[in-house]
């Protein structure tokens, strides 16, 4: 514990601010999780009360488990998210490296072209995408979702990663070149490990909209065997009646896997950092 470089009042203030903000961040989440264990009446009568013996009710969870195959839905969500994430990171990093490392004609234009995607909501292309999937027989497959999410995640990933890749030392890459590493290996063996924090960050950003997306599962893969959790939970959002117990339960459950993924990535972030650059 450093004593010389961090004074007590300063770190106390830091903790105070962080704790305060943590409360702000977590309070609503706590409300959700707490209420998912309460009977409907208790949710609205006293939303702030933790579940008591009288109000404790797992009806939400039982409803969720009874209605539809939520385990399967989780599996689907996880498959889609992880595979798309992998592709986004891989393809995105490759393109970002090409854009940030090499000077070639059309570099800026290519960069701009690849950034166009973040400027228009991809939903607008729904019909054409759906037609494409119908034509290629991918409707109601997870592949369709993976393809869409990969495309959707790429622009942002490229945008952020190319910025971070510019900070990798040239001498290092040059050392690799002299060592006879091909450009691909320089990318895979040197640059990728060094931008690990950025990769983890991008992974987190990319993962969330994919996990939470409702639209494309609804359009492209609504069948029972390909449903995702978010889509599954929509069953409880009725026209006039919303089964809040079930929605809260389903979506509380849905937080867990993302949280796990988040933990995995944030470990990468830290590991990437501690392997640190040298001189």
């Amino acid at each position: 514990m450093s004593r010389a470089t961090s004074s007590l009042p300063r770190s106390a203030a830091a903790h105070a601010i962080l704790i305060l903000y943590t409360i702000i961040a977590l309070f609503p989440v706590l409300v959700v999780v707490m209420n998912s264990f309460k009977a409907r009446n208790a949710i609205f009568r006293a939303p702030l009360m933790p579940p008591t013996t009288t109000t404790f009710d797992t009806v939400g969870y039982t409803t969720v488990m009874a209605q539809g195959d939520f385990l399967l839905y989780f599996g689907n969500s996880l498959t889609v998210t992880v595979v798309s994430l992998f592709l986004v990171l891989l393809f995105g990093a490759m393109a970002a490296f090409a854009l940030s490392e090499y000077r070639f004609r059309g570099n800026t234009l290519t960069g701009l072209y690849l950034a166009l995607g973040i400027m228009i909501p991809i939903r607008l292309g729904t019909v054409a995408i759906l037609q494409l999937m119908v034509a290629s027989g991918l409707v109601n497959t997870l592949t369709a979702l993976i393809l869409v999410y990969t495309a959707q995640g790429l622009p942002l990933a490229i945008f952020i990663l190319s910025e971070f890749m510019r900070t990798v030392s040239d001498d290092l890459k040059n050392a690799g070149r002299i060592d006879g590493l091909s450009e691909y290996r320089i990318f895979f063996r040197l640059v990728l490990p060094l931008v690990r924090p950025a990769m983890a960050t991008v992974a987190v950003f990319t993962m969330i909209p994919i996990w939470n997306d409702l639209w494309f599962p609804l359009i492209l893969a609504p069948s029972e065997s390909t449903k995702t959790v978010t889509l599954g939970a929509q069953i409880f959002l009725g026209q006039f009646v919303t089964n809040w117990n079930a929605v809260l339960a389903a979506l509380s459950l849905a937080i867990l896997p993302v949280l796990v993924l988040y933990f995995i990535f944030s470990r990468q972030l830290i590991r990437g950092i501690t392997s640190g650059a040298v001189k």
Partner: protein
Amino acid sequence: QDKSLTIESWRNDDLTIWQEKLIPAFEKAHPGIKVTFAPSAPTEYNAALNAKLDAGSAGDLITCRPFDASLDLFNKGQLADLTSLPGMENFSPVAKSAWSTDDGSKTFCVPMASVIHGFIYNKDAFDQLGIAVPKTEAEFFAALDKIKADGNYIPLAMGTKDLWEAATMGYQNIGPNYWKGEDGRKALIEGKQKLTDADWVEPLKTLAKWKPYLGDGFEAQAYPDSQNLFTLGRAAIYPAGSWEISQFNSQAQFKMGAFPPPVKNAGDTCYISDHNDIGIGLNAKSPNQDAAKTFLSWVASPEFATIYANALPGFFSLSNTPVKMEDPLAQEFVSWREQCKPTIRSTYQVLSRGTPNLENETWVESANVINGTETAEQAADKLQKGLDGWYKPGAAK
């Protein structure tokens, strides 16, 4: 080889009823046809359905929104013509009007259900405060005053946050009494009346008078809040649609009653909103046309009507053959059909075809009027202006 049919619907709420009652009943009678009910969230339904129809991946059977939304699909050739479907004769032209071409010559969805507006009240509270069921507007407001004075209950459980609550449960609920149901509605379409006419401004004015009786912060009160407020026993009167019945039955721990929108003066003819709400049609590109038609004919049958109406009290069959219902509250609602003249919501037919959309505008304006950010006249003015912007009476086909 079994044929399998998929039903597209926005009625998540009905999933269990379909799975447990309707589909087994059908499949028992028609072996060889398997049916899947595949609802999506109501807010996404239209958009998702349109996309799927355009791309050709939609289900075989399409649950139809009333009027233009479905008419559009039919005009685009996405819904099949069902005019000659066996069983269609079970429905009156009025029942079919929501899913027929403007001239009434072609019908493309089998009517399934209508909903009726009125007020549900907390009988215990009324008894406790000694309030009789109000028949006239004056009695209605007197009752509200009394509840308010007592202070134990919020007089009216309604909020303006969700906009449509104000329009549908407020404006469309009490409105028919002012514009005289079908007469006023037709006159408006024909251009003989304007939204700035007294008959049309009046309900807005009345609506504006509701404000003091709503709960604290009603501006941020959403529709589920209102429901909960009432079923948790914190409010006395709930401006309702009949669809609430089944949920309220299961949630409220007090006795409930219902009354139709009060008339202006005792003895006036009363009008109620009895609105065609749900139909079901056939995807024109479905590969299972025959099986689907078999299913639709079954939906048109009294057997379906009985199961459906009893499973979902508050969604009333549109079939000519009367349906016996068990639920007292539902019976109460449907009994108004006898005393009062039914009409459908004023904005639904023809008038919401253009931009700005009259229905949407009515939501916004109703809420504004109740919030007090606009007067009834201003609101009516805006509505009429918006309508004038695109609607040429008589030009409608």
